[in-house]
């Protein structure tokens, strides 16, 4: 049975190829490429080349999914958490990406092709993530981002099977490991390195004589990767870990949040490193403050929200006086060259658009390279992306490279910032100002990367 059906399939494919090649040469090039998806580019390129005059068709572009040369459109998928725990942050990231692509499109697009975003709201639920991926995968050439690590891990096998490129909107250190990232383009400092940088900065440049640290995090890749980095940083800086709440923060569990807050307050640590969502961070911060905690607060980028220092925020002054954070992109204040693009799109001032622009610029580089290679199939875009030696972001973030050994291309440069309530109230900043740009701590600079700091089991 199996052999028979294979022959039948083969016959069908051959038939399709014959039909595709039999038509008049002017219009068949794209249809042939779209129908014979098994081996798209090669068939057309070889059969068409002798027939065509050089002036009429300067270059064949192979396509399969998400690129329509006739309509002049490239479709890019975005699996975003727009209404879940990271909703406010990711919404701004999507808005930033949209504003950037609008600008690219207005200036001729990718070699004349307009880029369209196909956005789906996953609400940070793995099931939705998989479902929406299946819904949009045949309409898009790549994923502009994929929010969340367990979500992205869940997709990884599908991504590999489909030859689909995705930019993870998560800074899990595993994405820098070539055994996991065959279809992923990581960017920015991983959580673990971010913790090393930020705690390194705190102990060497910001605080005098800090000797203790309290660490608390969400369970899972994000929180525990960050906590792993914080522990390495604490050891390097000679800090004693007086409270270890790695994985102890459960967003749905009020009592867990209270116990973490009390744990931090009772420890009286000089530094509190908290890797969590904005909603739970403000709860822990408030409760620990009420219990008399007076140390310095710090955490990775997703812990912080500019809403903390909004004019009507009750914790505005306390946060402004005691928080130092780490992140991946330059702040609004330090990126005046990008203000017009955002403001012209009718968007309010925020620091989070830049992550969207960075993602868009990585993808733009991949798409342009794929076009230059003449292969805009999904696999072609993936191959082009994996050959990018340097992607630059015009002051928004450190350059990225996608070739070379893991340890060499691991991103170690990040940003350290403090809250900026005055700027936010005046509308001149997104709520933070950088105190160190492209910063690398000694530990991060010398850290030998051999794989994820925190292993996702199973």
């Amino acid at each position: 049975m199996r052999a028979k059906s294979r022959w039948l399939a083969l016959l069908l494919v051959l038939g399709l190829v014959l039909v595709a090649c039999g038509g008049d040469s002017g219009t068949t090039d794209t249809t042939a490429a779209t129908t014979t998806t098994e081996a798209p580019g090669d068939t057309t390129a070889t059969t068409e080349a002798p027939d065509d005059d050089d002036e009429e068709a300067p270059m064949e572009i192979a396509t399969d999914f998400g690129v329509d040369l006739d309509a002049g459109v490239i479709r890019v998928g975005m699996l975003s958490d727009l209404t879940g725990p990271f909703g406010p942050l990711v919404s701004a990231i999507v808005a930033g990406a949209q504003a950037y692509w609008d600008d690219v499109n207005a200036n001729g697009g990718i070699e004349g092709l307009q880029v369209e975003l196909v956005v789906r709201d996953t609400v940070y639920v793995v099931d939705n993530h998989i479902q929406f991926y299946n819904e949009i995968k045949d309409d898009v050439v790549a994923l502009g981002h994929s929010t969340g690590s367990p979500h992205t891990v869940a997709l990884n096998a599908d991504l590999i099977a489909d030859g689909m490129l995705a930019i993870p909107l998560t800074w899990y250190s595993g994405w820098s490991d070539s055994s996991m990232n065959s279809n992923l383009l990581s960017h920015g400092t991983p959580y673990c390195i971010e913790a090393m940088n930020t705690i390194g900065y705190l102990t060497t440049e910001h605080l005098d004589g800090a000797s203790t640290i309290a660490i608390a995090s969400l369970p899972g890749d994000y929180g525990q990767d960050s906590a792993a980095g914080a522990k390495l940083a604490a050891e390097a800086a000679g800090l004693e870990i007086v409270y270890d709440g790695e994985g102890a923060i459960i967003p749905t569990d009020e009592s867990a949040i209270t116990s973490v807050a009390n744990g931090i307050a009772d420890s009286g640590a000089d530094i509190a490193w908290v890797a969590t969502t904005p909603g739970t961070f403000s709860a822990i911060f408030g409760q620990a403050l009420a219990a008399g905690y007076q140390g310095t607060w710090s955490g990775p980028s997703p812990s912080y929200s500019p809403a903390y220092v909004a004019p009507d925020s009750p914790i505005k002054d306390a946060i402004a006086a005691s928080f130092v954070g780490g992140t991946y992109t330059a702040s609004w204040v330090d990126s005046p060259q990008w203000h017009d693009l955002i403001l012209d799109a009718g968007l309010p001032v925020s620091d989070y658009y830049f992550e969207g622009i960075i993602e868009a610029k990585i993808l733009e580089a991949a798409l342009r390279q794929a076009y230059a290679n003449g292969d805009m199939t999904r696999q072609g875009v993936l191959d082009a992306a994996k050959s990018l030696e340097s992607v630059t972001f015009d002051g928004l973030g450190p350059d990225e490279s996608y070739v070379g050994a893991d340890n060499d291309r691991l991103q170690r440069q990040g940003y350290i910032y403090v809250p900026d309530p005055e700027g936010l109230a005046a509308g001149t900043s997104g709520g933070r100002v950088d105190v160190a740009s492209l910063y690398t701590s000694d530990l991060a600079a010398n850290y030998e990367f051999t794989g994820a700091c925190y292993t996702l089991a199973g």
Binding site: T37, L82, D121, D127, A154, A157, G247, I250, T252
Partner: protein
């Protein structure tokens, strides 16, 4: 006796599942359609098709992503059938359905996942799937005696407790569940005789004519068909009648000689069995699960399925599952259609404009550019709609979709003499 639709001459024909010719024909045609559907879609990777035609009007359902949605519908329908037996037929409100689904899922994972850093025994599906029903059923029977002593609101609270206990255990049992927000993979739908390399029936790869989702859909459809027949059968048996007697008035039922404790326990056990199977299939089908998946929201979703479909009816439950799972997609497509209409202009755009916001400065109920302006995202709009539907059905059509179907059916039964 042909041509006299409501005349039954024997108890068997009165009680038979398909008691009219129309029912047999319609169900047969519908099943044939469902079985044919994935074949008209073809294999996703090669595009080869066994039948080179598409079914009119609903042919779009044969695409890969809709097949996935339909397979999900089947899985949810299995779970909902279980809750329907407990809540709809036996009248015991349970908010703990997601707990039993989780127990089923992790039983399947433990037995079926390959050996590795996390717990797993690599056993074939014919072991882990039944086990995924039996283990929750046993747990249901163990916690049952506590639960069946109380009724109504108190029972709801007891079962609610199960969900939170379960979530706590799932989150912290890292060697089994992979831990909170991390979870673990489980893609083992392939049918194997034992642990051989090449499976007997391979679900996880595209075949010559069927896509992965097409195969999975057919598999889920078969399982659903089996469980539907079982549920329907149970409902018209001695146990089913006992369930209904307890639902309608438990004291009266006991006076009539129905052993209330025993039948409530039985309902609990069977319902948990269904839930466990559904949980296991859902996990194996989607390929990954995190402990937070088995939360209260999932349990409420099942309550919604039953209420919208029509409590106490098997066909209503199936309709409810299809409705609740497909609703987000319908809202999504409808929003996109409205958006397209606005771009084109014309009559529809006048109505569509206040509903959909298309740019940062536009206002509308549904915002297609979330985070940029005010308005609900498509998914939020869906949730609002969801709530409104539950309230609407409770007030206007307590029999749910089944009630609407019943009225349509009765209208056409008397046509053209309907009054």
């Amino acid at each position: 006796m042909r041509g006299r639709p409501l005349l039954y001459t024997s108890y068997e024909s009165d009680q038979s599942m398909l008691n009219t010719t129309t029912k047999k024909v319609v169900l047969g045609a519908f099943l044939a359609f469902l079985v044919l559907l994935p074949f008209t879609g073809g294999a996703a990777s090669s595009g080869d098709r066994l039948f080179d035609f598409s079914i009119p009007f609903v042919g779009f359902l044969s695409s890969n992503d809709y097949l996935q949605l339909l397979a999900t519908v089947c899985v949810f329908a299995i779970g909902a059938l279980g809750l329907n037996l407990l809540t709809g037929v036996a009248g015991q409100v349970s908010l703990g359905h997601s707990f039993f689904m989780g127990v089923g899922a992790y039983t399947a994972v433990w037995l079926g996942a390959p050996e590795g850093p996390l717990l797993g025994m690599g056993l074939p599906i014919w072991i882990w799937l039944p086990a995924a029903g039996i283990v929750p059923a046993v747990i249901g029977l163990i916690v049952g005696p506590t639960a069946v002593r109380v009724r109504g609101l108190y029972l709801a609270i007891v079962t609610l407790g199960l969900v939170f206990i379960g979530e706590y255990v799932f989150r912290n049992w890292r060697s089994l569940t992979g831990g909170s927000q991390a979870g673990r993979s489980f893609q083992e739908l392939d049918i194997r005789l034992w642990k051989e390399e090449v499976p007997l029936i391979e679900i996880s790869q595209d075949g010559p004519w069927l896509s992965t989702n097409g195969k999975a859909f057919l598999m889920m459809l078969v399982v659903l068909a089996i469980f539907t027949v079982l549920a329907k059968n149970l409902q018209r048996s001695r146990a089913g009648r006992a369930f209904q007697a307890i639902r309608d008035r438990d004291v009266a039922a006991e006076v009539m000689g129905v052993n209330e404790f025993r039948y409530k326990l039985l309902a609990f056990g069977i319902s948990s069995f269904y839930a466990g199977i559904a949980g296991a299939l859902l996990t194996a089908f989607l390929g990954r699960t995190i402990p937070e998946r088995w939360d209260l929201i999932l349990a409420v979703q099942f309550i919604a399925i039953i209420l919208i479909g029509g409590a106490g009816t098997v066909s209503g439950t199936l309709m409810g599952a299809a409705f609740v799972i497909m609703l987000p997609r319908v809202v999504q497509n409808f929003t996109e259609w409205l958006k397209g209409a606005i771009d084109e202009g014309g009559f529809i755009s006048v109505i569509a404009d206040p509903i959909v916001a298309t740019s940062a400065n536009d206002t509308g109920i549904i915002n297609t550019l979330p985070g940029v302006g005010p308005g609900l995202s498509v998914l939020q709009a869906n949730q609002v709609l969801y709530g409104l539907l539950i309230i609407g059905f409770l007030i206007f059509e307590p029999l749910g979709l089944y009630g609407i179907w019943l009225r349509i059916r009765n209208y056409w039964k008397g046509w053209p003499f309907t009054y």
